[in-house]
Amino acid sequence: MDLTFTEEEDAFRARLRRWLGEVMPALPAKPAADDWPGRRAYDAAWQRMLYDAGYAGLHWPEDAGGRGATPTQHLIFLEETERAGAPYVGANFVGLLHAGPTVAAEGSAEQRARWLPPILRGDEIWCQGFSEPDAGSDLAALRTTAVRDGDHYVVSGTKLWTSHAEVADWCELLVRTDPDAPRHRGISWLAMPMDAPGVTVRPLRTLAGSAEFAEMFLDEVRVPISHRVGAENDGWRVTMVTLSFERGTAFVGEVVACRRMLGALARTARDNGRWDDAVLRRRLGRLHAEFAALWRLTQWNVSEAAAARPPGGGGGGVPGTGGSVFKLRYSHARQELYDAAAEVLGAGALDADHEWVAGRLSSLSYTIAAGTSQIQRNIVAERILGLPKGR
């Protein structure tokens, strides 16, 4: 158990910090939340800066255009960029964290060459077309159909919770190519150009009032068969290989941010007098311990991934079930943090313009998105604890 960093890791951090110190002041102002083209441009520009500085695809394997960094370096990268207030992946989310790694792992040489470099350079934006109105927790229930017609698939259906759909170039799409096969066996993974005829995108407003997500209607959209990654009807496996891949590190920046926010809550409470409320104070103290432990759990999971790393390099490692333990606790701790923030604000927590209030509303999605807490508990109980399936 070693929590100190190697000289190499320290040097990596120092170099990164120096670079961030240089580029951050020159960064343009963040675009407004509803300025989608502006957000795309902003996120793409940042990705390009990372690319030019050698930080793009940091943890991707080198043969996919990545830098082959260790999981620990990746952790340092996420920690430092968050500390510096640098942009997170933003519009590049799906490309960098899921579609890209899927293509890298399962795509042909041509597919890798076509799709990976533009992702790393920030040139092309991807979105994700997985969930459907009747396929949420039960993703394998998806019904969007793809029927072969010559060298194309003709795709029809409805997708939900697609983020950045309005500005995306590509969509990683799960479709049903064999309606007669068992649920998990008739699914294929396609890369769909978002400008194809028949694609309609409609913003989906969340309870926070924002339109971060969209519904996507597909009406006989023609997708070349060559855009399929992996074998026909093998899309479920193709997707799952990478789906939980990032779970161990996807929230690193957020945990750093939550710990900083906890300090801000305490200072605000001290300034507005609520610090005298022992119940609130002790609640914040407990959250201090919780988030410290969540940070240690992150380090634990990253170290585990590093130990399981393939010799050929890359961010790799088998995605551990530790991610489910982390997500279960983190998603609730984040909600507790924002509830504590509301307590600090008192009636001020009714002010929709306060960033903590917006954050409180968003926090409600954490126990739902990317696997509800109920699903996560099933995963932990069945896959880690070995309790019997079903019922």
Binding site: S131, D134, G136, S137, D138, A141, L160, W161, L204, R205, T206, L207, G209, D277, V279, A342, G346, A347, G348, A349, L350, D351, A352, D353, V357, L361, L364, S365, T367, I368, A369, T372, S373, Q374, R377
Partner: protein
């Protein structure tokens, strides 16, 4: 002892529910989310139906009923998410002219808070301020000098306020910064405050019970993994605990409406606030992704529940009062 609704009370509740269903159905609710100003025509209809004059004696043109009946009606407004200062109008009917009939809409604020928030400022003809610790004076809020209880009124346009972006789309808010030339009202401030807390608790109860219904309806309809999600214990047990919260709150609120005891009201508000907030959150969870959309009603319940929990006594204040009540 017969701690059940009487036949008359059941009929009253049914009538209130039907009236609200007819005049404030799903489409009207959705329209109100865009424009939450109380519907004046509906308000007059509610007035004509005796909604506001419920507790006025019959000789004063009222219905001659009591607090338990007011609680039942307010519960229905909470259930229906009806926007508008219903609690204020219920309490000030017969005190401020025109409120009982639904002609006039008044607001009610609690002084000595920071900030003092005013619901539906643009819709109110008057604002009534209750101070249970501080004398009426120009300006509101903190300060310990000359603290006595009092109730005062002011024409709406004379109240100074600052804008405040309400988290609840159905309840516009303003921050009161000054209440000039207020006219005192000969009302018992403690009693008014207690009744406001109880009626607010009744609305929370209605909301808490409604989100149980919404969760159950969704859980029966929505299928995943080849079965209604409500057949899975995880969802089933969430719903069961929601019902327990709502029923505990119901007993506390109804009993407090009969006893009118200070601690009973305090406890009822505490349990009803918690039931409304936690049930709304569990309802979001049961709804999954759908619960996170603007289109589902559940966020409206949650936001309103948050708002009401900040009015007329917070959980912390209630717990302290109830604790003190154990050793006296």
């Amino acid at each position: 002892m017969d701690f059940q609704l009487t036949e008359d009370q059941r009929a009253l509740r049914r009538a209130a529910r039907e009236l609200l269903a007819k005049r404030f159905g799903p489409d009207r609710l959705r329209a109100a989310v865009g424009d939450p100003a109380p519907d004046r025509a509906l308000w007059r209809e509610l007035g004509a139906a005796g909604f506001f004059a419920l507790r006025l004696p019959e000789e004063a043109g009222g219905v001659g009923l009591g607090l338990p009946e007011a609680v039942l009606v307010l519960e229905e407004t909470g259930r229906a998410l009806l926007p508008g200062p219903v609690v204020a109008c219920q309490l000030l009917a017969g005190v401020v002219d025109g409120v009982a009939s639904g002609e006039k809409i008044v607001g009610l604020c609690e002084g000595g808070r920071e900030p003092v928030l005013w619901e539906h400022p643009a819709a109110c003809d008057e604002l009534i301020l209750v101070e249970t610790g501080t004398e009426c004076r120009d300006g509101v809020g903190g300060g310990a000098r000359g603290r006595t209880a009092g109730v005062c009124r002011s024409a709406a346009e004379r109240v100074s306020c600052a804008p405040f972006a309400s988290v609840d789309p159905l309840t516009p808010l303003a921050r009161v910064t000054g209440l000039p030339r207020a006219e005192a009202l000969a009302l018992d401030a403690s009693r008014l405050r207690r009744e406001a807390a109880l009626l607010t608790a009744a609305q929370q109860l209605g909301s808490a019970a409604r989100t149980v219904e919404l969760a159950v309806a969704h859980a029966r309809r929505r299928e995943q993994f080849g079965a209604p999600v409500g057949s899975f214990q995880a969802v089933k047990h969430l719903c069961a605990q929601m019902l327990v919260r709502a029923e505990m709150a119901r007993c506390a609120v109804y009993a407090a409406s009969v006893t009118e005891g200070d601690l009973d009201v305090t406890g009822a508000k505490l349990l009803a606030d918690e039931a409304a907030v936690r049930n709304a959150r569990d309802c979001v969870q049961v709804h999954g992704g759908m619960g996170f959309t603007w289109e589902a009603d559940v966020h409206l319940h949650l936001k309103r529940a948050w708002l009401r929990a900040e009015c007329w006594g917070t959980a912390g204040e209630a717990e302290e009062l109830l604790a003190a009540g154990l050793i006296t």
